[in-house]
Symmetry: C2
Subunit: 244 residues, 2 copies
Amino acid sequence: MKTPVLDFKDCGTCPIRHRAVCARCEPDELSQLDAFKYYRSYEAGQPIIWSGDRMDFVASVVTGVASLSQGMEDGRTQMVGLLLPSDFMGRPGRELAPYDVTAVSNLTLCCFRRKPFEKMMADTPHVGQRLLEMTLDELDAAREWMVVLGRKNAREKIASMLAIIARREASLNLVPTANEFELPLTREAMADYLGLTLETVSRQMSALKRDGIIQLAGKRRIIVPDFDRLQSETGDDMDGGMVA
Amino acid sequence: MKTPVLDFKDCGTCPIRHRAVCARCEPDELSQLDAFKYYRSYEAGQPIIWSGDRMDFVASVVTGVASLSQGMEDGRTQMVGLLLPSDFMGRPGRELAPYDVTAVSNLTLCCFRRKPFEKMMADTPHVGQRLLEMTLDELDAAREWMVVLGRKNAREKIASMLAIIARREASLNLVPTANEFELPLTREAMADYLGLTLETVSRQMSALKRDGIIQLAGKRRIIVPDFDRLQSETGDDMDGGMVA
DNA sequence: CGATGCATTGAAACTTTTCAACATGGGTGG
DNA sequence: CCACCCATGTTGAAAAGTTTCAATGCATCG
């Protein structure tokens, strides 16, 4: 498999230009960023960072999906974040990575050397402001996920995950809901995301298929004939559910 | 019961002065804040905000404990945040509250009217910078909690909660670990925090007591004879566990 | 074509929940 | 002042849901 070599010399053609941490940068600020940015690509499954590693960069996900996960020493693993295009990785001011970061699918990052990025944040308030907005959104997402982990049963967990991925997929493509999409996770990754075993994930996927909530085309492509029906399996409030 | 009337005219005597969102404000900025701040107190158990309410203020917790929780319409509830002194409540730019907020213990808030606070954030970058730091810390805490919810068993969950509360208690009092502290939560609140039923919480508390990991003085006061022993019940790595 | 990695399915074991009864302990009103 | 009451907490036993262990299926890759 050949890793595609990216060559976005120009932020103007960047697919995440309007949603990433640089969303509100002016042309001169983009060229400032350009001075200390570089792209890196990873193949599906490759590790990007191990917990405890020194991290000299922060980055935006340009294409693909990455996971943040935390391991317990006896081997149990919990995914604590799923980074989709435009999401931000790393923390300004932090030397050591607190989580394992893995490329879930083929992935391209737009990396910024950490020190100059921190300097830019100090000098250019709206970069920090944008990062604050994004961090608050991530905190909301993390809290929504806490409800899934703490209070939903296995079927509701699976349905919730599918609904969330479908919605995010749709929002990237600027359509209301995606009724067909590629599931970027293995069964094991889903299990780590949902706090289940991979067998339970497999069983519940089969059950949702058997009940006609979803169809599978191959192992990874999901078809949702009726999004409301999927939504009603999540256990969430039908309408008011989403945060304002 | 009489609600104590607070009268911190002066930020100089404020117990959270050095940790809250205003930590890095200069005297002139504090007097700016003073123009649109006010204190409110609540008794243990009182609701502060219901999900969906209009929220015209943001606030710092001065004393006491508040909870953020999300309900599912069938009655299941998951606590998604526990706000201790110096923690920030509300989101600049957001009109409607996404969670129920409840005073867990007697509570005093230092409230700022939202609009002027937003203006101040725009004009005074370091307020936003401080809020970004605090939000990133909260995100870390939320992710740590996701591991607890997703991968730990009931005993580990209880031990984790006790260890975390003991540590936060200690850090407020500037001592390394608190080996005796007041547990501010009812069994039901603990259950909502941990994604368990209150019966399971009760059983595991009894088990930890039976095994000598903790002692109970009354219903709420917890004594931890050996903090390492408690820590070893959490399932976490002994030392490297804490994020850098 | 056999090996390897991922996924599915079954049955037994285990953990947590559910339902129900009982305990405790402060407060209130007789 | 005491009895009773209500909220909170504890404990037991059966039921339910999830995990564990084990076998099998299916596709891809060398």
